[in-house]
Symmetry: C2
Subunit: 432 residues, 2 copies
């Protein structure tokens, strides 16, 4: 049944991130992901994101643009104690409000600082300045309070840029506030589901999904390629026309068409999936990393509780380390070269046997830019797995990209070899 | 001497990144950094950045906003072969141009695909559509060409979102184009210099730099805190009033005031600095990582040529691995716990002695969320360095943050211990 659309503005949000350093990029923006997901659960779609430097006039400009196209404006950053922090002044100027020290803002800050044995300094006192007719958003973690106000047809919410503070304030105050605003208008939650794939080029993923979704469908299909694989997303449009059944059926079709190439869904990840499979299979793991230099160990140990299945890793950057720590025969390296299927197999076997774990996983390759030979180009990578009892495999890969990309792709290839082996071992009787 | 300002619009740029997935954040945006730096060298300042989804109407809106405030608009993304790629249609719609297949765009694409043994498919044919009165920007790496056109008072440049393609097209075509445009107007290059610091909280950095720069100064000072330390930047405003001497003198003052806490400057990094110090000192390194899980090895091996000084690493996640691979005495772990200064020292000594390198570097700590005890909280981390001959040090740290943040800070603390030791060893006669 078609639903009468509520004011379109209300369910369109814009994020304004304030900070001259943010214009440069080169950093991972974790704030947007959290804001987008929290708002989506309320049926609010982030349609625009603006980044602007610490310049009052530029912030005012960005705010005016946002107010012309979004009913909800979430600003992050520029609330700090230093003079270049001018978000509060810009909002007051744009909305024609005066700034004054607000008791509830000051008290919260003073209490927080007292816990740390400090009292507010001059810069921090500025942080208690709040525009007139704005409501304070308490900061349960840091000293800087936020605030929100209604201006023109929009709700403007100003939060600190520090991810942990912003996240706590979103969850404790902003989400309940917006929830009550949108509930009255009957906005439907936006559904979004993401599939992480590995091993198929973007063009092949596109080909496999051809014809799945028509132009008129209320569900959008998105593809995004990165060194870690292709991300496939299904998103309902904001008017909520897609039923839960339709969404589930499309998700099932994506799953069926991309099957083994889907490594994780939603907020899940390769390292978390592999971790669960290792736990479920009561397996323990040792790593022998050459060209990845520790990246596989780093990724696996990002998962809380990974010490239950990651026993150790060896970063065998030199040939001597491969011989000493992994027992790779020197003449094997001599005959085939350190970057070879034979050496990858010997590394995986060596690390498994010497550590007494059930699975050894290895990678050896040429990450570049140096190190290539006439027969072995930059990007040539071998991954190996040894689980004893004749369960040994290697795979050859030829990756393109710079050193960092080749390291990322190598780590993904090694973890995918492990993932596929664990899935197979789970599904079949283990060879004796 | 004050310089007559050229049209302010011309030296203000806006980046519009197109892609629904980009609204989510959670990814590192390397394109903005490159664009910002290339434009800065021409005296063009990126003042705004907008991110917009794959929606034609939204892209048109963003373009109109950008044309009202920026003389140069660099758009990235949305030029791919799939139907959700609609940047070229949006630009044509906004500027009132028609799209038609352009011979030079098609020929370049066909030639590129032929090198890979392929011919253009239907989606790729769309990529040769170029708006009327636009100029093709050749893509020397991938198949999708870009283009630029003049619209209202702005130059609109559309490039693919793939970083390597975008970078090549910026350097080969866009920079020369803009260079000739701005040369006529006498814009002065923007000077910007960044200092990476570690070990001082943001408030302390702010305090140390107090009074360095007046409000009227043509140089801006910026601070940005992250888990890896505080970034300090000096930037001249766009009108180029700051002389080279003034900028150099301010840089020298920052250097003097923050001295030992500056770990790197500009595009340099902790891992590159430590790598050079190891090379210069003819040192070789072995790592013993516990809570960082391979992150230190990963960071050091991001640097090309790091195999010259990184011999190996051991990720000793289990106690057994610490005993087996590093020779840490079992009773030392029993008495002091795996997270202790004693075990950090034994790990560094063990990995150095067993690998025959000159320096062993270790880290052991509680990354959380589990693993804390009554006396050892999450975030308690010990780093250790052993260089033989009685050169052994450990440092205790108490970090806040989640697992990922604690791993990052631990890796930075270990590398800083190494950096400080190498600097000292370089400056003084080594004890015999």
């Amino acid at each position: 049944m078609p639903r009468a659309r509520s004011s379109p503005q209300l369910v369109i949000a814009e994020i304004i991130a304030v900070g001259s350093e943010l214009l440069l990029g080169g950093r991972t923006d974790s704030n947007s992901l959290l804001i987008t997901e929290e708002l989506a659960s309320l049926g609010i779609e982030v349609r625009f994101k603006s980044i602007v430097g610490d310049d009052r006039a530029d912030i005012v400009r960005a705010l005016k643009v946002a107010a012309s196209r979004a009913g909800i404006i979430i600003m992050t950053g520029g609330l700090g104690p230093t003079v270049d922090d001018c978000t509060r002044e810009a909002i007051a100027a744009a909305a024609g409000r005066t700034l004054s020290r607000r008791k509830e803002a000051f008290d919260g800050m003073q209490m927080r600082l007292a816990q740390w044995g400090r009292s507010p300094n001059k810069g921090q006192l500025r942080q208690a300045l709040i525009p007139s007719r704005a409501t304070v958003v308490p900061n349960p973690i840091g000293s800087a309070p936020g605030f929100w106000l209604s201006w023109r047809r929009s709700t403007v919410i100003s939060l600190p840029g520090v991810p942990a503070e912003m996240a706590a304030m979103m969850r404790e105050t902003v989400v309940p506030l917006l929830s009550s605003q949108v509930a009255r208008r009957g906005a439907a939650p936006i559904k979004r589901h993401v599939f992480h794939t590995w091993g198929l080029p973007e063009a092949d993923v596109d080909e496999k999904l051809k014809g799945l979704i028509s132009k008129q469908s209320p569900v959008d299909l998105g593809l995004l390629a990165s060194p870690m694989g292709v991300l496939v997303s299904l998103t309902t449009k904001t008017d909520g026309r897609a039923s839960a059944e339709m969404f589930a059926s499309l998700s099932a079709s994506v799953r069926a068409r991309l099957s083994e190439w889907i490594i994780a869904e939603g907020t899940d990840s390769m390292e978390a999936v592999v971790g669960r499979l290792l736990l479920e299979g009561k397996q323990s793991l040792a790593l022998a990393e050459s060209c990845t230099g520790g990246l596989i160990g780093h990724r696996l140990t990002q998962i809380p509780g990974s010490s239950a299945y990651v026993d150790r890793g060896v970063i065998s950057y030199s040939n001597k380390a491969k011989i000493d720590l992994l027992g790779v025969p020197a003449d094997l390296i001599e005959r085939h070269g350190a970057v070879s299927a034979e050496v990858a197999a010997a590394m995986a076997k060596g690390v498994r046997e010497r550590s007494g774990v059930s699975i050894g996983l290895s990678v050896t390759g040429i990450a570049g830019p140096g190190g290539a030979t006439a027969t072995k180009p930059v990007g040539l990578v071998y991954v190996g797995l040894d689980a004893g009892n004749g369960n040994a495999f290697t795979r050859e890969h030829r990756f393109h990209g710079d050193r960092s990309v080749i390291k990322q792709r190598s780590s993904q290839a090694a973890l995918d070899l492990l993932r596929r082996w664990l899935l197979k071992a789970q599904g079949t009787a283990r060879p004796g």
